[in-house]
């Protein structure tokens, strides 16, 4: 399960929205194969009837009133925008 070919690397890069240059595909392929080879050793651990853990201790939902709060420092947000028009973020066309 740890054999990674260049097609896999291209697929994963596409899913992750990384436009990898062609010369980097082979480099990442070798590195990912080695790393995934190491981590696939986990299959030797018996986990029958072991629950999955996503948090260090039991937590429940934390509820609060559904009240909108204004973020005061709007100029601080706008300052970081790569491109703006008035108070709108300018991006490429979303629907072709």
């Amino acid at each position: 399960m740890s054999h990674i070919n260049d097609k896999d690397v291209r697929h994963v890069a596409k899913l992750a929205r990384l436009a990898l240059p062609e010369e980097e595909i082979a480099k990442y392929q070798g590195q990912l194969e080695r790393i995934l080879g190491h981590i696939s050793e986990l299959k030797n651990k018996n986990t029958d009837n072991v629950p999955a853990m996503s948090h260090p201790f039991e937590v429940g939902n934390v509820m609060r009133d559904d009240v909108a709060k204004r973020f005061e420092n709007l100029p601080g947000l706008y300052k970081n925008a790569p491109e703006m028009e008035e108070t709108f973020y300018k991006v490429k066309k979303v629907i072709e």
Binding site: M1, I4, D8, V9, H11, V12, A13, L15, A16, R17, L18, A19, L20, P21, Y28, Q31, L32, R34, I35, L36, H38, I39, S40, E41, L42, K43, K45, T47, V50, P51, A52, M53, S54, H55, P56, F57, V59, V62, R64, F71, N73, G76, L77, K79, N80, A81, P82, E83, Y89, V91, K92, K93, V94, E96
Partner: protein, 488 residues
């Protein structure tokens, strides 16, 4: 006599509150040291000269008006550059956030501000806290002050060096798999990862949300207790922060370790471990024994799987957390894209460095269709086994004692082309994050090459005070934490 900024945080706060010296004098003294050393260490990415002096003057004014300046009155503090400080550049050592100015304060920053701390600068890190050497920074590596040809550890390398060179008494870092404890060990200072949920993560740029925790670096244990008291506590903005009373850490400083049960897990003395590290760590165990602790061998049988579990879970969470960096509302944008999808791909190709891309791809792969069960789900189950190992161990002991890093600081460039070998640097620190328990690194020796060695203590969930208790007793009996690199 020590320069003002080289005193402990407690001495500085007392002196400033008692008007023996001013916050401005301390800040000026710290800034002089930072500017003198930074050309050699590259510990700071941003030096907040103007802002620090303004803050310091405000503290002095408050005290002049008759008010108390706070528990950190005039104390110079350095922040890892993945922590938000309003108006300060916050880069995560990444080109993608190269010009990002924080629009709000992290919870821990606000808590420290309220106590009169003065922020001197933002420190270097491995890009997005991914690394063990601070070489993965888009702004050049940080160098170890004990030997400038060597790495300071990572990812919070800049914060470790800031304290090791005594430019500040307290620096904050973040720890996802050892990123506070490992650099603390390699630079000869104290570094602690509190229990998960003990400190709010609001305002630290997320890497792996189920593992990340913010913690302090200090050069003495009294300041560690003080820093923890200030930054701990529940926060409505982080639903994983817990509603548990913050212990009086300072009260632990004089308790001693008599009767404390200490376990040494045989699995942590891994193959390839430097014999000098092993000797120094075992001597630390002997010291605790002489101080009245009961030391015994224990076993954490699933430790061998921790690295693999970590390198599935952390990249998986990172691939999701880092999806937000798309160059739309903020961040780097590559010119010339023809459509939105291409724009995303180019921004991320040009904005992220190689290690970040590598981890995003590992995580995306582990979460992708057909591999989810074999990787992600399997890793979550083995994480349970590792947690159960600790549950069993803490039924027998109060404290676990281990090495921090298998070797002292290695040379710059030595492991940079070999990611897997680099990952092995964290083999002794990762299990702590997987189990959520607290861990501290404390100086316990110098190698024959004059490089610092650290010993790690683990305690059970929400027993952070046990770490302070043990560290205080150990440091009282030893002098390793008082060794300072010539570069200071």
């Amino acid at each position: 006599m020590d320069a003002l900024h080289q005193k402990s945080a407690r001495e500085i706060a007392d002196g400033v509150n008692g008007k023996k010296f001013s916050a401005k004098e301390v800040a000026t003294s710290s800034l002089t040291a930072i500017k003198k050393l930074n050309g050699q260490t590259n510990a700071y990415l941003t030096i907040l000269e103007k802002e620090a002096l303004v803050q310091a003057e405000a503290v002095d004014k408050k005290i002049a008006s008759g008010a108390n300046g706070g528990r950190l009155a005039g104390v110079p503090v350095a922040l890892k550059d993945n922590l938000m400080l309003t108006g300060a550049r916050t880069t995560c050592a990444s080109k993608i956030l190269g010009d990002y100015m924080a629009p709000y304060d992290a919870f821990v920053v606000k808590k420290m501000k309220d106590e009169g701390a003065v922020f001197m600068g933002k420190t270097n890190l491995d890009e997005f806290a991914m690394g063990s050497s601070t070489e993965n920074s888009a702004f050049g590596p940080t160098r170890n002050p004990w030997d400038l040809a060597r790495i300071p550890g990572g990812s919070s390398g800049g914060s470790a060096v800031a304290v090791a060179t005594r430019t500040v008494p307290i620096a904050l870092g973040s720890d996802t798999g050892g990123s506070i404890r490992q650099p603390a060990s390699l630079c000869g200072v104290l570094g602690m990862k509190p229990t998960y949920g003990r400190v709010s993560r609001y305002g630290v740029v997320a890497f792996a949300s189920s593992l990340d925790q913010i913690g302090p670096f200090t050069h003495n244990v009294e300041d560690m207790a003080l820093a923890l008291e200030v930054i701990s506590g529940q926060d409505a903005a982080d639903s994983t922060s817990v509603n548990e009373p913050v212990p009086d850490y300072s009260a632990e400083l004089t308790k001693g370790v008599k009767g404390l049960r200490v376990g040494i897990p045989k699995e942590y003395f891994v193959e390839g471990m430097d014999p000098e590290v092993k000797t120094a760590v075992m001597l630390a165990a002997d010291t605790l024994h002489e101080l009245g602790a009961e030391v015994k061998p224990i076993s954490l049988p699933n430790s061998d799987a921790a690295l693999a579990v970590y390198y599935i879970l952390a990249p998986s969470e990172a691939s999701s957390n880092l999806a937000r960096f798309d160059g739309m509302r903020y961040g780097f944008r590559t010119p010339g894209a023809v459509n939105l999808i291409e724009q995303y791909g180019l921004n991320r190709r040009d904005g992220f460095g190689p290690e970040v891309k590598r981890r995003i791809m590992i995580g995306t792969y582990a979460l992708s269709s057909g591999y989810y069960d074999a990787f992600y789900s399997k890793a979550q189950k083995v994480r349970t086994l590792i947690k159960r190992d600790f549950d069993a161990a803490f039924a027998q002991v109060d404290l676990i004692l281990t090495p921090v890093s298998p070797t002292p600081a290695f040379k710059l460039g030595e492991k940079v082309d070999d990611p897997l070998t680099m990952y092995l640097s964290d083999i002794c620190t990762i299990p702590c994050n997987l189990a959520g328990i607290p861990g501290i690194s404390v100086p316990c020796g110098l190698s024959s090459g004059d490089l610092p060695i650290g010993v790690q203590f683990y305690a059970n969930l929400f027993q952070d005070q046990t770490l302070i208790r043990a560290a205080a007793a150990y440091l009282k009996a030893t002098n390793w934490h008082k060794k300072i690199p010539a570069l200071n």
